[in-house]
Amino acid sequence: MMNVLEFSLIVCGVSAAGGFLGALTGLGGAVIVTPALTLLLGVNLHYAMGAALVSVIATSSGAAAAYVKEGFSNIRLGMFLEIATTVGAIVGAHLTSVIPAPALAIVFALVLLYSAWHSVHGIPEVSETKPDPLALRFRLGSTYPGPLGAIHYQVGRVKAGFSLMFSAGLLSGLLGIGSGAMKVIAMDQVMRVPFKVSTTTSNFMIGVTAAASAGIYLHRGYIDPRLAMPVMLGVLAGSLLGARQLIGAGTRALRLVFAVVVAAMAVEMIYSASTGGFQ
């Protein structure tokens, strides 16, 4: 039986590996760390979610400076959509007290499977769009730096994007994840915002959305300082290292291997949940 020191060091190592791979593949750290903690180390799902949620805030705020410098993030668009993600997060966080843990684990596994599929297939390029009247009213369109000066873009399908953002917030609060991929899809695929703007604006939104869940998680006692400590420090260190790695030719193979591992964790989670685990 390992003691607290050994356990904390192992948790920190697992979290660092999760943060590193999460940053490298764009999946995010929490979505990997929570299943790893529950499946490998037998940590209670609620505690794992609470610790992972805290690490989501750390990576989002920690990366903000780097993202902002690039000049792509759209603060109006982010703030407008955060109304949807924060309300969704509160609803999701409250649902964790109603939904039994095995059911939560299955929802988590389904999100994992989708993320694995998504990281291999990528998302198709989208063309420009006609501006939505709501986007004009809220001045959501903006510019980003291009090689020949500022490039203007418009924002479309505001209602559909806003609704999808509510769902992204809901999943974030329900599972203690950043749900960055879903936020990017809502902006990039639905609202036709340029990809680079979507990813940087999403990073900004992830931290605020997670903070909205954090209050409820603290109230429920999901955020245990003893577990959150090694998880947060590990994920933060791992993701900072991962973000510095150059995206090279090996990325495609890495993504494929990683997707298989993530899918295997998802299957294990579903199997465990349906055979009396996660109680």
């Binding site: 805290v54 703030m79 809220f138 209050g215 109230h219 933060l236």
Partner: protein, 116 residues
């Protein structure tokens, strides 16, 4: 100050917030491990309800230090929203002052509920 400069200042502020929070968490962690490192961990069981920041405040000192660091970390995105509110109010952009106040209101609802 341009929007871009404002954003960069905010980004730097957030980074220092995270560095400070991580330092406090690490300090509490070292203290906790130094005093409790030999104990047997139990994170398998979760006792629902009856937990809150108010209750957490009864924790032993090393865990309180970690919690303080975590609360500092949770405050960083909130600070970003407050900063945006001030920026929109100075422009002034009333539509976005209202949007930002809604987001801030939701955050405040969640964080204040953590006490009870």
């Amino acid at each position: 100050m341009t929007d871009q400069q404002l954003e960069e200042n905010m980004g730097n502020l957030l980074r220092w917030g995270v560095i400070l929070a991580a330092t406090v968490v690490a300090a509490g962690g070292v203290w906790y491990l130094a005093t409790n490192g030999g104990a047997t961990p139990d994170y398998r069981h979760y006792a629902p309800g009856a937990e809150s920041v108010r209750k957490l405040a009864e924790l032993p000192a090393p865990e309180l230090v970690i919690l303080a660091g975590l609360l500092l970390l949770i405050a960083t995105p909130v600070a970003r929203v407050v900063f945006s509110l001030a920026a929109f109010a100075m422009e002034p952009d009333r539509t976005y002052v209202v949007c930002t106040m809604i987001v801030l209101g939701v955050l405040m609802y969640s964080l204040s509920s953590s006490w009870w």
